[in-house]
C-alpha cells in the first residue's frame, strides 16, 4: 500500500509539510504544489528534511514553480519536477491520495 501525499501550503506559512513528513511511509510519494513548492527549494530549512526522508519520492509541480518565478535550478536535488499529467499519473500509481492542507 503506497500513498500519494499532496502539500499545497508553504512550509513557512503552515506546518502541513512537517505534518505530512511525520506520517509519510517508505515507498510513498510527496507532491509539492501551489505554495507547497516553496518546500522544494535549495538552501531552505526544508532541504534537509527532504533529504532525510528515506525511501520517499518527492515531486514538485512545474507550472506552480513557474507561476512563482522559481527557476528549476533552485529546486533541491532528488525532487522531480512534473506537470499536471504527471500529477494525474501519480494519483493513479498510488493506492490513495492524502491531502495535507
Amino acid at each position: 500500500m503506497s500513498e500519494l501525499h499532496t502539500v499545497n501550503k508553504s512550509p513557512f506559512e503552515k506546518n502541513s509539510f512537517d505534518s505530512c513528513l511525520g506520517h509519510v511511509l517508505e515507498g510513498s510519494a510527496v507532491l509539492l504544489y501551489e505554495d507547497g513548492v516553496y518546500a522544494a527549494l535549495k538552501g531552505t530549512a526544508t532541504e534537509g528534511k527532504v533529504k532525510a526522508a528515506q525511501g520517499v519520492k518527492f515531486y514538485a509541480l512545474g507550472p506552480d514553480l513557474k507561476a512563482r518565478g522559481l527557476a528549476q535550478d533552485r529546486v533541491s536535488d532528488g525532487i522531480e519536477i512534473i506537470d499536471y499529467a504527471g500529477f494525474v499519473d501519480l494519483a493513479t500509481e498510488h493506492d490513495k491520495v492524502v491531502a495535507w492542507v
Partner: protein, 130 residues
C-alpha cells in the same frame, strides 16, 4: 480510472479551484473518468452564475460549466454549506422563502451523501483546498 474531486475553497481565494480544474481536465484528456466534483465549505462559491470577474481574468465558474458540458460532469454543491453562504436553487428558494436563485444551471445542490458515495464509487478521491 475513476476519480472523485473535492474542492473546499472559494473560486478566487487561493488556487484550489484552478488546481482542481487543471487536474480534472488533464485526467479527462488522459481518458480517465470523473465520477463527481463535490464543492464543500467555501468551495460552493464555484457554483454561482452571477460571478463576473474582470474580462482579462479567468472565469472560474464558466470554466467548470464548460468542462461539465463537454464531459457531462456531475458538479455537486453541498446543501448546508450553500445555505450558509447564500447559494440558492429553485427548491431551496421555495423551502426557505427566498426571492431569488443564483446557482449555475450546470451545478446542482445536494447532500454530503453525494460525497460519501463518490468516495466509495471512485478509485481515488482527490481533495483540493484549505
Amino acid at each position: 480510472m475513476k476519480f472523485a474531486i473535492q474542492i473546499n475553497e472559494g473560486p478566487y481565494q487561493h488556487q484550489a479551484s484552478d488546481s482542481a480544474y487543471l487536474f480534472t481536465k488533464t485526467a479527462l484528456e488522459k481518458g480517465h473518468e470523473i465520477f463527481r466534483v463535490f464543492f464543500y465549505h467555501d468551495g460552493v462559491g464555484n457554483g454561482t452564475r452571477l460571478t463576473t470577474p474582470p474580462q482579462d481574468d479567468r472565469h472560474v465558474v464558466n470554466r467548470w460549466a464548460e468542462l461539465a458540458e463537454k464531459h457531462e460532469l456531475d458538479l455537486v454543491v453541498c446543501v448546508a454549506a450553500a445555505q450558509r453562504r447564500g447559494l440558492v436553487d429553485d427548491g431551496e428558494a421555495e423551502r426557505n422563502g427566498k426571492d431569488a436563485t443564483n446557482i449555475h444551471p450546470k451545478f446542482r445542490i445536494s447532500g454530503l451523501g453525494q460525497l460519501i458515495e463518490a468516495a466509495i464509487q471512485a478509485d481515488r478521491l482527490v481533495v483540493f483546498g484549505d
